[in-house]
Symmetry: D2
Subunit: 150 residues, 4 copies
Amino acid sequence: MSDSAAPPSLFVHRRKIVWADTDPAGIAYTGRFPNFALEAIEAWCADRLGIDWYGMHNTLGGGTPFVHLDMDFRASLRPGDALATTVALRRAGRSSLEFAVTGRLADGTVSFEGKFVCVFVEDATHTSRPIPERFAQAVAREVELAVAGA
Amino acid sequence: MSDSAAPPSLFVHRRKIVWADTDPAGIAYTGRFPNFALEAIEAWCADRLGIDWYGMHNTLGGGTPFVHLDMDFRASLRPGDALATTVALRRAGRSSLEFAVTGRLADGTVSFEGKFVCVFVEDATHTSRPIPERFAQAVAREVELAVAGA
Amino acid sequence: MSDSAAPPSLFVHRRKIVWADTDPAGIAYTGRFPNFALEAIEAWCADRLGIDWYGMHNTLGGGTPFVHLDMDFRASLRPGDALATTVALRRAGRSSLEFAVTGRLADGTVSFEGKFVCVFVEDATHTSRPIPERFAQAVAREVELAVAGA
Amino acid sequence: MSDSAAPPSLFVHRRKIVWADTDPAGIAYTGRFPNFALEAIEAWCADRLGIDWYGMHNTLGGGTPFVHLDMDFRASLRPGDALATTVALRRAGRSSLEFAVTGRLADGTVSFEGKFVCVFVEDATHTSRPIPERFAQAVAREVELAVAGA
């Protein structure tokens, strides 16, 4: 956590859609959308758990590979669009985190909704392990925020 | 169709996993997997419908944007791995195609399974349109192949 | 131009290095660096010419494809690094723009230096055309800024 | 080396240009070209040195980061184009390899030419090291091939 106070609301990741994201149809390519969502979840980790994936990989002896993702596409994105992706931790299991991500345009239009599930694993054994104790409080708070739909 | 004979089996797309696909954990990054599946579906279009996305975009007055995708990840991929992705057209609606994609390693291990749904749209109106008549026969045959689990 | 006052200094584009940018060596993949530079140049266009590549493509009947790029790599980048890329318009020909780009880490360390050359082309003829008159003033000012090493 | 016989000619890497490589102008995005060249060099390593970058990273205690690249663009690429990239090892220093890469379309048209320089480094010290002895013979032979313009 960047500070001890509870975050006031769900984490929102912002990025501009750029030329490189888009295809001959003039809109962001389908294959880019999971990356938009994953970038948002990565930034969520840094902001809400206080450590990003690279830090986990280097210092926690394991990472959080994804076991599932699904996405529904509602509105296309074009270069210059300001995408705001909200990340809600909808559920936490013994080892797993389930995120609900929603990407919105500046006017509030929903571009995509998705569910992403990752699992804490141990590098040494390549098997799942419980969510590290150090994240327990933050995880509980984020699930609460998600339930509240903050 | 590249020829008039019915394809003997489901379409399989092959690619090597390369360094650029992988992340600091030494495995293909989650965000690359939807691209592996999409590339396979794009190649399926060229092979089984006789026209790729670029050709559709340039000559058919519209494309086939995706409205949904989901993936389950079973086994990680490393640089040098030979990925074989099977594309089955599981269902065809009035305007939509639903693909089941399965990525396998050389020894048959399933790396991922996914469902991808796209819709034929008209550029002029930005609305869905029926699957073009020219694809009717190929679509019917591919659905049959998928049902047969060929 | 976003306003009528001359920009006080060279354009700087900022982005975080993310997990997806990096490879099994734990550093940003070589193939990502040209994209960092190109994103910075694209943002320069929007900020200093008042129109981005997508806008040019849609409204000016042509774009600015690159004919040359070169890069020297000085220091590696890791996830979480804050990359600041300075874009200087070092030279303007009849049709071409030559950019000097320099990527720096937060502590000022130079990560990369590069030269990128693009040419204004006409879609209808696929040949080069003079830099549009509407950009003349901005281009002159940016070249001045670059010379001054502002 | 996959076998003891000298390779008959310069290494050529083949790939199809796909929808994901291309931008709203309907051609492969500038930022993709360095990746085409790098993929070809990576495949050259596997074929001509007998080990790819991932193998080097895992077993040789170091890799071959790039210190320079430059590219000139001659002809654009479109989805479906069959790109053949020739890799010539133009020069070998104490620690460095300088590659000349040339990408050609099926009809022989040159799409791009480039120079890429990498350096063998030691992970433990992050400094350059001599080209490993195990590669000496293959490197000498490849430089000869490049000189001969085979």
